[in-house]
Symmetry: C2
Subunit: 247 residues, 2 copies
C-alpha cells in the first residue's frame, strides 16, 4: 500500500498538459518537422484559452525532451523552434537518476557493453555501398573513428584521451546507422566520463586500448562483423574487467 500509485490517474489534467497535448497534436497533424516554428507564447495562450505560464510550462517540458528550443528576440529564428536533441534529454535523465541512486553505475556500464557490441557488429555488416540514406554518414563515421584514434595517440593526459575515446565510440555508434542508439550512447558516455578517466588512470598504459581501437576500426572497414564483435568484447573486458558477463 505504501508503494501505491502516487499519481492521480483520473484527475483532471493540468492546463499545461492540455497545452502539451494540443501542441503534439499539431505537430503530427500538420506534419511539422525540425526547423518549423511554433506560435508565440502569448498567441498560444490565447488560442488555447490558458494563461501564458501554462504555455511556458508546456514549452519547458518540450525543451527538456529535446523537441523545441526557444530564442528571444525577433526574426525568423526567434520563438520556439522545433529541434531534435534526444541525446540531451537522455543525458539529463541518466545524470539525475544516477544521483538519486535509482540507477547504478553497474547498470549503465552493462548497457553500454550491450550497445557497443551491437553497434560494432551492425557497423561491420552495414552495406557500405548501398543506397541507404545513412550510408553517407556511415562512411564519414569510420573516418572519424580513425581521426579519434590518432587524437588519442597524441593525448597528453587521461582526460584528453577519454575525450577522444568518447568520440571514437560515438562514431562507432553512428557507423551502425541508428540515431536512437547514437543518442543513448552519447548519454551513456556523458554519464560515464569521470568513470572512464579513472579507468584510464588505473590502467596506466593505453597501448592495449589503442590496439583494440585499431582492431575494431579495421574489422568494420573490412566488413567482418564477427571480428568486430570480438574486438569490442575484448576491448570492454580490458576497460571494465569487473563487469563481465558473469559477475
Amino acid at each position: 500500500m505504501t508503494t501505491e500509485e502516487r499519481r492521480r490517474p483520473d484527475a483532471r489534467p493540468r492546463a499545461f498538459e492540455e497545452v502539451l497535448a494540443r501542441i503534439e497534436e499539431r505537430i503530427t497533424a500538420d506534419g511539422l518537422t525540425v526547423g518549423d516554428r511554433l506560435p508565440g507564447e502569448r498567441q498560444l495562450a490565447e488560442q488555447l484559452g490558458v494563461g501564458r505560464s501554462s504555455v511556458r510550462e508546456a514549452l519547458r517540458v518540450l525543451e527538456t525532451l529535446g523537441v523545441v528550443a526557444s530564442q528571444a528576440g525577433r526574426g525568423p529564428d526567434a520563438g520556439a523552434v522545433l529541434t531534435s536533441r534526444p541525446g540531451d534529454a537522455l543525458t539529463d535523465l541518466l545524470r539525475l537518476h544516477l544521483g538519486l541512486a535509482t540507477l547504478s553505475m553497474r547498470e549503465v556500464i552493462d548497457t553500454r557493453l550491450m550497445i557497443e557490441q551491437w553497434a560494432a557488429s551492425r557497423a561491420a555488416a552495414a552495406p557500405t555501398l548501398s543506397a541507404s540514406p545513412l550510408t553517407a554518414s556511415a562512411r564519414t563515421a569510420t573516418a572519424r573513428m580513425a581521426e579519434a584514434i590518432a587524437a588519442m595517440d597524441a593525448a597528453r593526459d587521461p582526460a584528453e584521451f577519454v575525450e577522444h575515446d568518447i568520440a571514437f565510440h560515438l562514431a562507432l555508434a553512428e557507423a551502425a546507422g541508428n540515431r536512437l542508439i547514437v543518442a543513448i550512447m552519447r548519454a551513456l558516455r556523458d554519464a560515464l566520463r569521470r568513470y572512464a578517466v579513472d579507468a584510464v588512470v588505473r590502467l596506466g598504459d593505453t597501448g592495449g586500448l589503442q590496439d583494440d581501437h585499431r582492431r575494431i576500426h579495421r574489422a568494420i572497414e573490412d566488413g567482418d562483423a564477427g571480428a568486430a564483435t570480438d574486438a569490442v568484447a575484448e576491448h570492454l573486458a580490458r576497460a571494465y574487467p569487473e563487469s563481465g558477463r558473469d559477475s
Copy 2:
C-alpha cells in the same frame, strides 16, 4: 552553417536553470533519495531568490525527467516528492521524436531487437541462487513471464494479446536485472504498441509466437543462455520479418 548551434552556450543561465542546478546539488549533497520531499514552491523561491514561476518551471523539468511528482493538498504526501519514473520520460521522448520523424520506426525496432536478445541471454545466465539484490525480483519476473503466456492464450483479440505480450517481454527485461534496460524496454514497447497489434493481425495465427514464448521462458529457467538467445532471435524474426540483420 545553417546547422549552427541554435543554443546560447555562453548566455547567462535562465533562472529556472539555476533552480534546477541548486535542486540537483541538494539531491547529491544531502543524499536525498526516492520518497524524500522537497521544500514547497514558495519556500524554494524565497530561498533561491527567484520568483515562484521559475521554481515551477524547474519542477516541471524534473517531473518530465521522472524525478519528482507533485501532489497538492496538505500532509506528508503533499508537495514535490522525489520519485523514480525514468520509463515515463523515455516514453514521452520516443513518442515525440517519432512524431517529429527524428527517429524512424525501423530504428526503434532494431533497438528493441538488440535489447531483447541481450536481456534473454542475461536473464538465462543470471545466477538464480546468488545473493544479488536483484535475485528476488528476477525470480518473480520469470513467474510473471509464465503468467503472461497463459494470459496470451486466453486473449480474445490482438490488442489484448499484445498487452500481455508486452508484459511478457517486460518481465523478460526485468529478469535480466537491469533497471535501465527495463526503462528503455518499457518505452520501446509503448512506442511500438500499435505497430505490434498490426503485426499480430497480419500474422493471424499466434501459435508460433506462443511456441517461441514458451521456448524463451524454458531456456531462461534452465539457465541456457545460448538457447534463450536463439529463441528470442527466431521469435523476433517471426514478428518483424523485414527487420533482420541484413536489410
